[in-house]
């Protein structure tokens, strides 16, 4: 399988060509978790994850809520 390299939370990450954002989230076991995602600093709402095909050098950010003041 051909892979492409994206940036995931600041580190490089290989994904299969043609994979979607939804595929990536699933591969990380994060489906159904309370996370938010942005690509290239644009928020991608969860209903759009299936349609968004990952492209080389996409900068993907996946965030959660943690303790803070």
């Amino acid at each position: 399988m051909t892979t492409i390299t994206i940036e995931l939370n600041g580190a490089s990450h290989a994904v299969g060509q043609g994979k979607t954002l939804h595929d990536l989230i699933a591969s990380l076991d994060l489906l159904g978790k309370r996370v938010a995602v942005a690509i290239n600093r644009e928020v991608v709402a969860s209903p759009r994850w299936q349609k968004r095909v990952l492209r080389p050098a996409d900068r993907v950010e996946i965030v959660v809520a943690i303790g803070g003041g």
Binding site: A36, A38, V64, G68
Partner: protein, 277 residues
């Protein structure tokens, strides 16, 4: 204001009525005037126990990258303090410019199903964690325009507070002293100036060290107090959370009751008339 050292008339009747009804932020009314952070606790059980003991209805959280490869079934903060039970106030802790802060809150809004309430804090430097006000104003403007209900951490400068209000922030949150310092209410006079003019809730954010600090903030006429380290860093956080709940309530009651003036003269509490011999 009790700082004037005159018997206060207390807040006017309308304000008092609204006060006893609770704290209203962006159209929602809360019985508790204490807002608490969720940082620095030992674990989520302790976080939840402290939140419960504080009686708060609004808890702050921060937004961070997921640890990739971390066990996905680890407990999460929002399981311990679920949005179904609390108003979650995402902050921009760690942001040093407007761009980072706006981006962080856009992610937070997505994370919280479109919930627009947020706490904006744009920090100036790591030594003081003082707000960078030019960047704060820039971010506040962008967020309000984008439909956020912005509660804003700011300097205790009445002019900055007024500008933030004019921009459309739903609460102004001046620091009482440096974040996490526990130094208490260092400039009650500035806070009073802000409170006097404000048309939105004024919430002391940062600096509270112990219960008396929270009570002083409320006696000045603040609408609420936001704290994290004072509770989480106490030797017994859950007991301190309870102390803060009582202090905020006591301070509010004292504010509404109207304190006696300070004067450097004694005044007997017992009548002089009818003394024996």
């Amino acid at each position: 204001m009790n700082l004037n050292d005159t018997p206060t008339e207390g807040p006017d009747a309308d304000a008092a009525g609204a006060a006893s009804a609770g704290l209203t932020i962006a159209g929602k009314t809360y019985a508790s005037r204490l807002l608490v952070g969720t940082g620095k606790y030992r674990d989520f059980d302790e976080t939840r126990a402290a939140v419960d003991a504080s009686g708060t209805e609004i808890v702050t959280v921060t937004i961070r990258r997921v640890n990739i490869g971390q066990h996905a079934n680890e407990p999460s903060l929002l399981d311990a303090v679920p949005p179904s039970q609390f108003t979650i106030l995402p902050n921009t802790g760690g942001c040093y410019n407007a761009k980072e802060a706006v981006y962080t809150l856009q992610l937070a809004r997505e994370l919280l199903d479109g919930h627009p309430l947020c706490k904006l804090e744009v920090l100036g430097d790591e030594k003081t964690l003082f707000p960078n006000m030019p960047e704060t104003l820039k971010a506040a403007g962008a967020l309000v325009k984008d439909g956020f209900d912005v509660m804003v951490y700011c300097s205790d400068d009445p002019i900055q507070a007024r500008i933030l209000e004019d921009i459309g922030c739903v609460a102004v949150m001046p620091l009482a002293s440096l974040i996490g310092s526990g130094m208490g209410i260092l400039n009650p006079w500035n806070l009073s100036l802000i409170i006097e003019q404000a048309r939105v809730p004024v919430i002391v954010d940062a600096g509270v060290g112990t219960a008396s600090d929270a009570a002083i903030a409320m006696e000045l006429g603040c609408d609420g107090v936001l704290m994290n380290t004072a509770i989480a860093g106490a030797r017994e956080p859950i007991r301190m959370a309870r102390a803060m709940r009582l202090a905020v309530a006591a301070g509010r009651e004292a504010y509404l009751a109207g304190r006696i003036p300070r004067r450097f003269a004694a005044s007997p509490s017992s009548p002089m008339a009818g003394r024996i011999a």
